[in-house]
């Protein structure tokens, strides 16, 4: 692996939708993360937290009108770094599919129903690798074979409706990897598939990352996928990262009540029979604006008055947390936090390490007290 600088550095990415006559919606509100060669970075959160919008913004696939994108996303290319968000439509088209590829959620609706699979694979080879005729067809068959589609020659002539769900997703992956992209974004690639196929697809993605050194951005709400695949994890809530950590600390010592809640709402096979799941109460609709305080506070079992004093900042775990003040926010973003083993959170009243198991235990108030003291 050449340089150790990140392949893609996203800083303070924001996406605001401003439809005609309707209020502005901040779907993504200052998200920062990096993608590195051969590593899988996860964006985790429930529906509506801004995961997919983030990926579409990076791909330049958001609509032209009614959307404002801010921040930067600098990609390291052989010819020098470029900010994806500032590229012309033409330059972006050249990068899309060749350096930067995406795998979508629903493989059936993501494939054109009236065009043979082969054509849908060869068109990208034709566009970016200049391949024509039988050479393109041979390569397409090769690609399908590599992603585990048996009898690829025959499949090339078939249409999406003739393939099974898993095959379709494999075909989409074949298209995504056709030009050996450096950065790949997978937006819930397994959501529409049944469990056994999910595992196969994840295995395939993992192999592609290790073999090709691709940087993969994995967007999911499935913590099982995260545990099995992601090296670094960003937990998103209401358009902002609320916790970021490498996989091990995140699962071992989650500190943000939202992360803890997500982990607590996974059904476990080894849980005692009859034990109820502990879902996070309410829905994303119950949010308050970040400018007023922690957006998660209305759904949080641990919130204190201090949570409503202003926007909390992203700070290293263990360090003094607080609400947004002078330069606190920028100082605490990604790079600064790397020194602390990369575990950061955005919470004024975090759960202690290991708090996952006793989330509902009456330790909450005690934790509040400790935090207050630390700060004082």
């Amino acid at each position: 692996m050449g340089s150790d600088a990140p392949l893609l550095t996203v800083e303070e990415l924001s996406v605001v939708f401003h439809g005609r006559g309707s209020d502005e919606v901040r779907a993504v509100d200052g998200v920062s993360f990096t993608l590195e060669e051969g590593r899988v970075t996860g964006l985790v959160g429930e529906s509506g937290c801004g995961k997919s919008v983030t990926s579409l913004a990076l791909m330049g696939l958001l609509p032209d009108r009614g959307v404002r994108v801010g921040g930067s996303a600098v990609m390291r290319l052989p010819e020098g770094p470029v900010n994806l968000l500032g590229l012309s439509a033409r330059r972006m088209r050249d990068l899309r599919g060749s350096r930067l590829a995406m795998i979508f959620q629903d493989p059936l609706s993501s494939l054109n129903p009236v065009v043979p699979i082969g054509r849908q694979v060869t068109e990208i080879l034709r566009r970016h690798r200049g391949m024509r005729g039988s050479a393109a067809e041979r390569e397409a068959a090769d690609l399908l074979y590599r992603v585990g589609i048996p009898d690829p020659r025959r499949r090339l002539r078939e249409y999406p409706h003739q393939l099974s769900g898993g095959m379709r997703q494999r075909a989409l992956i074949a298209m995504a990897v056709a030009c050996r992209p450096r950065v790949m974004i997978a937006d819930e690639p397994t959501t529409a598939l049944d469990v056994t196929i999910q595992a196969q697809i994840l295995e395939l993605l993992k192999d592609l990352v290790t073999e090709e050194g691709t940087a993969l951005l994995m967007i999911t709400h499935d913590l099982g996928v995260v545990a099995g695949l992601c090296d670094d994890i960003n937990v998103l809530y209401a358009g902002r990262a609320v916790e970021r950590a490498p996989r091990a600390p995140l699962f071992a010592e989650p500190t943000h009540p939202y992360t803890v809640g997500l982990l607590g709402s996974i059904p476990r096979l080894d849980a005692p029979r009859g034990e109820p799941l502990t879902p996070i109460r309410g829905s994303v609709n119950d949010n308050i604006a970040w400018s007023q305080g922690c957006a998660f506070a209305p759904r949080c079992d641990h919130y204190t008055l201090e949570c409503l004093q202003g926007p909390p900042v992203l700070a290293p775990v263990g360090a003094a947390a607080g609400v947004e003040g002078a330069a606190a926010r920028t100082a605490a973003t990604g790079r600064a936090a790397a020194a602390d083993g990369g575990h950061v959170h955005r919470c004024v009243n975090p759960l202690r390490a290991g708090g996952a198991s006793d989330r509902t235990a009456p330790e909450g108030p005690a934790a509040v007290g400790e935090d207050e003291e630390e700060r004082g």
Partner: protein, 334 residues
């Protein structure tokens, strides 16, 4: 594909059979039979009854129907009461003119309507979009005979840009191979005939095109709006394909599916719509002949015309189904 074709052709039999029954019953129920049309108003009841007998109208209804069916299958649609010539023959000599007119109208409607609908969708909310949507509403609302008349008065009589009547200018000589003026002209190299024929087709073609054009603009617009939001269009863009490729292969190939169905149905209705247009422009096709037939209660001609139109509809529908199965692999599979 062959099996599909054979099955669809077999399905035509019950369709057309049912149609013949409907048509026959409808004719039976019509007030004022041929004895009123053929005989002077002061004819006696005895004279009318005698005519009914001679036409076989006193036979049991099933016998009449079978006789009716047999004649149709033999290509005998009876004799025109107005001209005294066989209806089939009258249609045969006039059909090429109507066919050319209908094709002209459809070509105008498709070549203008599809791109306009696409542009209106892509520039949604723009002046062009409003103009296209508003204009098509106007097109649907305006009666064809009124539009035909308006075009004739303005462009033919006032401005003198186009001829106001007939298929060819008087005195234009041509070699008649098939009755299709434009085709014959192209084959024999008589390009002055082609030019003259096209000028004569322009105004009636435009008038006849108004409704199909309006429908095609709206259908294309709605369909494109739906398709551009589809996931596979996003996939195509994510591949970095050129906008032209995305437009033709991914957007239009899908967006045209419902439009093709509409085009089929509209083509059928063109032959019916030709009745009014042709009569305004004195265009010597089936339409103006039928228009005259309605004036004179020429039942054999009317029956034949309905049968002709219905058959056209059914055949065009067959063509639509075939083209649909070529365009959409999901239909082929069934």
């Amino acid at each position: 594909m062959l099996r599909f074709l054979v099955r669809r052709l077999l399905q035509l039999i019950p369709t057309l059979g049912g149609l013949s029954i409907l048509l026959f019953v409808w004719l039976q129920r019509l007030p004022g039979g041929p004895e009123y049309a053929l005989l002077p108003d002061d004819a006696t009841a005895e004279q009318r009854a005698q005519l009914r007998r001679s036409l076989g109208l006193d036979q049991p209804i099933t016998v009449q129907y079978l006789a009716f069916l047999r004649r149709i299958l033999q290509g005998d649609l009876g004799t025109s009461l107005n001209t005294g010539r066989p209806v089939t023959e009258e249609f045969f000599t006039r059909f090429p003119a109507t066919f050319e007119l209908a094709v002209t109208a459809m070509l105008i409607a498709v070549t203008v309507g599809v791109p306009l609908g696409y542009l209106a969708a892509r520039k949604r909310g723009s002046v062009l979009d409003f103009a296209a949507v508003g204009g098509s509403l106007l097109g649907i609302c305006t009666p064809v005979f009124f539009l035909a008349f308006l075009l004739k008065v303005v462009f033919a009589e006032r401005l003198g840009l186009f001829p106001s009547a007939f298929r060819l200018s008087p005195g234009m000589s041509r070699t008649d191979l098939s009755g299709f003026v434009v085709l014959d002209g192209l084959r024999t190299g008589e390009f002055d005939v082609v030019r003259d024929a096209l000028l004569h087709l322009a105004l009636p073609g435009l008038a006849l095109a108004s409704i199909p054009l309006a429908v095609i603009v709206r259908m294309t617009r709605a369909s494109v709006l739906e398709v551009v939001g589809e996931d596979y269009v996003r996939t195509a863009n994510a591949k970095g394909l050129h906008p032209g490729t995305v437009r033709t292969r991914h957007v239009m190939r899908n967006a045209m599916l419902p439009v093709v169905t509409a085009i089929g149905l509209l083509t059928g209705s063109l032959f019916a719509g030709a009745v009014l247009t042709e009569s305004v422009f004195a265009f010597p096709g089936v339409g103006s002949f039928v228009y005259a037939a309605t004036q004179g209660r020429d039942y054999p001609v009317l029956t034949g015309f309905i049968l002709l139109i219905a058959t056209m509809y059914v055949l065009i529908n067959l063509l639509v189904d075939i083209s649909y199965s070529l365009l959409d692999p999901r239909v082929r599979a069934q």
